[in-house]
């Protein structure tokens, strides 16, 4: 029952998001979509995914899309595309040369064929949640039954991400790092003039928001660090914690202004450094494993007490590395996109 209602909800959201012309409304609807998606993940008992969706999908994506919107235009321009907007607003139904019925029918045909092929492709797949599916027989069993013995980490999602799939996670962290660097290269400009008269008026009017943000921020930051540190025991980990930490700084900037944020909160000079520190910690732990005589990222060879202890500490270390990278890159992206030159 709940599942059906949630599915209905998601479909309605998706259609609404496509048919809106105001991009800010679309952003809001996508935020709602993401909220419901989290509920679906929790229904499926996929706590770590739900956590990621909660922190990334609903929170920081919305903020970053808005930062990007503030640099471009808000309304969608040009011709009406898509049939949903026409069905919803029949008076807009004017076919131009570009949208002759033939073209329209052809694209409908192609889409239908693709959809049919995709559905045909799923017929051979094992049923949803089938215990005899290949993925559930070998790998999942081993991860569930033996990961604690092998890595010393109770939460086996973290064990898989950090240990069995350690290279993949290193790759992901590097991708995030690369995204940050590319944005710095593409968009950073030197000049920035702050309009102080607006700021002063704002200061007086937004006193409630400012006071609450001020009180909230330390708690958000500590919570983010808690999520990073408890990645081994409960859902969460470096990625989610990093995003939450980044959001706390972003909240500060939104409430107090960019200049203020830069003056007080380190991040212009330190930001670039921190971006790379995280990846360095991650890769460095791998190298330490090599030096200690193991393979790259084979944590239990580290000389830190028992094998289990060493493995657990190594994973803790790379969680912190991932957290630093994600937080720093999120803040960098926000600072660069939100800043306006006048």
């Amino acid at each position: 029952m709940i599942d059906l209602m949630l599915l209905l909800f998601l479909v309605v959201c998706a259609i609404a998001a496509v048919s809106m012309k105001d991009l800010l409304s679309t952003t809001i609807i996508l935020g709602v979509y993401s909220l419901i998606m989290t509920v679906v993940w929790t229904r499926l008992n996929a706590v770590d995914v739900a956590f990621t969706e909660a922190s990334v999908g609903a929170g920081i994506t919305t903020v970053l899309i808005i930062a990007a919107l503030s640099r471009t235009k808000r309304e969608e321009e040009g011709q009406e595309y898509g049939m949903w907007s026409k069905l919803l607003n029949p008076q807009d139904l004017k076919l131009t040369d570009k949208q002759s019925p033939l073209l329209w029918l052809t694209s409908l045909f192609i889409v239908l064929i693709t959809g049919a092929v995709l559905i045909y492709g799923t017929i051979d797949m094992p049923d949803f949640g089938d215990p005899d599916a290949p993925a559930n027989i070998h790998l999942a069993k081993r991860f569930i039954e033996e990961s604690y013995e092998e890595t010393g980490v109770p939460n086996f999602v973290t064990a898989i991400l950090a240990s069995y799939r350690g290279y993949d996670t290193l790759g992901e962290t590097t991708v995030i790092f690369t995204a940050g660097i590319s944005l710095i290269l593409l968009l950073r400009r030197k000049s920035y003039i702050c309009d102080t008269t607006i700021k002063e008026k704002e200061m007086k009017e937004h006193i409630v928001i400012r006071t609450i943000s001020r009180i909230l921020i330390p708690f958000v930051q500590l919570y983010a660090l808690y999520v990073i540190a408890h990645g081994e025991l409960s859902p969460g980990g470096g990625f989610q914690g990093g995003v939450i930490f980044g959001s706390s700084i972003i909240l500060y900037v939104i409430a107090f202004g960019l200049e203020e944020g830069r003056k007080v909160r380190i991040f212009r000079e330190m930001g670039d450094l921190l971006n790379s520190t995280g990846v360095l910690i991650y890769a460095g732990i791998g190298v330490l494993c090599l030096l200690a005589g193991g393979a790259y990222l084979e944590y239990d060879k580290l000389p830190l007490g028992s094998e289990k202890m060493a493995s657990s500490l190594g994973i803790y270390g790379i969680e912190i590395g991932v957290g630093i990278t994600v937080a720093a890159v999120m803040i960098t992206i926000f600072f660069i996109t939100a800043r306006h030159e006048r």
């Binding site: 800010l24 935020g31 509920v39």
Partner: protein, 84 residues
Amino acid sequence: MFDAVATIIVFAAILVLYRVIKGPTIYDRVLAANAIGTKTVVLIALIGFIYERPHFLDIALVYALINFIATIAILKYQEMGRLD
């Protein structure tokens, strides 16, 4: 009991979705989205109790914090046209 409460709350969220889509102003949408956010927090906690996995509460807590940040960001953009 938890199941029933969760179903009713999803139902309430669908009611509010009407306001998100209809508008008419952007503020109505933000308001309704915010209301759906609060319902989501409740739902996640309830589902955590249904499955007896209290770790779900961490997610609920994230929402209580993150939803606020997103709302403030949307409103500031709507008012100023920028975020800095």
